[in-house]
Amino acid sequence: MKRNLYFFMTLTIGIFIQIFFNRYLSLFDVGPNVLLMLVVAHGFIRGSLMGETLGFSWGLISDSMGVELFGTQALILTLAGYLAGKFRRRVASERPPAQVMIALFSTILYGLGSVLVRHFFEEGIRRSFLMPMILGMLFNILIVTAVFWVLERWINIWNLETEHV
């Protein structure tokens, strides 16, 4: 019950924060990808299960709100959460330098994933991805430490059991 409540609260707050960032902190229509950072942080802190579930849910919500191919965000964020969980034992994600590297690589993989999905599923449309990716990367690097810091405290408030995977 507590886990479900945590899940829905986090889902709601995450969307809220993403809307806030898009509205107030975007530059050239590119802002920090809070949802990606939250999914990855969940993966590293809580494990793959929570990461991919939240990733899929946030992905679906993003897809339903946007005009991009439906399923793109769901797929990428699911994989991001899953992979982050798989690497949680190999990366000391509590250290800020590691968090910066996590933001860097996750944004690159997110950008490449988007390009691949478009390549396979979208016909005749080519969008520039390099500039948004670089800008987004900078934004994500800026917020990633705060995201990890806040998320750890948020999880502590709920006192959830650690996922052993």
Binding site: S48, T53, I61, S64, F70, L79, G81
Partner: protein, 283 residues
Amino acid sequence: MTIEFIQRNRSGVLAFVFSLISILFLTLRVDAYIIGIKTAVWFLVSPEVVYSGLFFNKLDALEGRIFKLVRAEGANYILTKENELLAKAKIERDALEAENNRLRVLLNLKKVFFPAAISAQVIGRDVREWFHVVSLNKGKADGVVFSAAVVTGMTDHPALIGRIIEVGERTSKVLLVTDEMSAVSAEVAGKGDLGLIEGQARPWVSLNYLPPASQASVGDQVITAGLGGVFPPGVPIGQVVSLSDMSDGYFKGAKIRLDASLGSLRDVLVLRREEISDSEAKP
């Protein structure tokens, strides 16, 4: 076996399922089902989006108020600066007005009492001898002569301040009546009692050697007597503030508050010799 595998690799299986669903969505993107699912998800999350929108709209309004506050602060800063400039301009205007008034009084004084007098400005004052000497910007070249009487202008009458003790080519020095070396023959106006104004190196002066039967009283005006040919008769000096017997027990003395404010002297008139004998300044 299969259930055990799933339980052991829960996250992997779930990721696979989620990915499969996502790919299915991507593949069937034009399908009516996808549109339905998209609509359903949007229906579920739309309250949050709507409330978020309402919240952020309020935040925008707050932001607007903040900008208004910032603008008001900026306007306040500009107005403060303008106010400072205006205050400075007012001070300058007041100073000019005061100077104008002084000069007007002096001009009037000159016209009425001493038409031939030389207008001069105080250009210096020895800080160690504040009640002793002031320097003027007029000298021999302007007609200033040694021992000439110097007066300043009150609103409606002149007031004695001293006499010239040094004359340079372009400047001169005035020994003020408050200097201990200064002595001016004076009389109590209306009473006819003669005495000698002597400086005390203080803001006031003493009127000494008044006759024992003097009728002088507090508040009486003291004017120059015109004896000695240095000062013209009838120039106001000051008012009696107190009376006492002198130490020799024979004469009376009085403490005189000067009419002229020697501490703020700016413009003066240096009288010419002919005016000393020809005119009599009556207050």
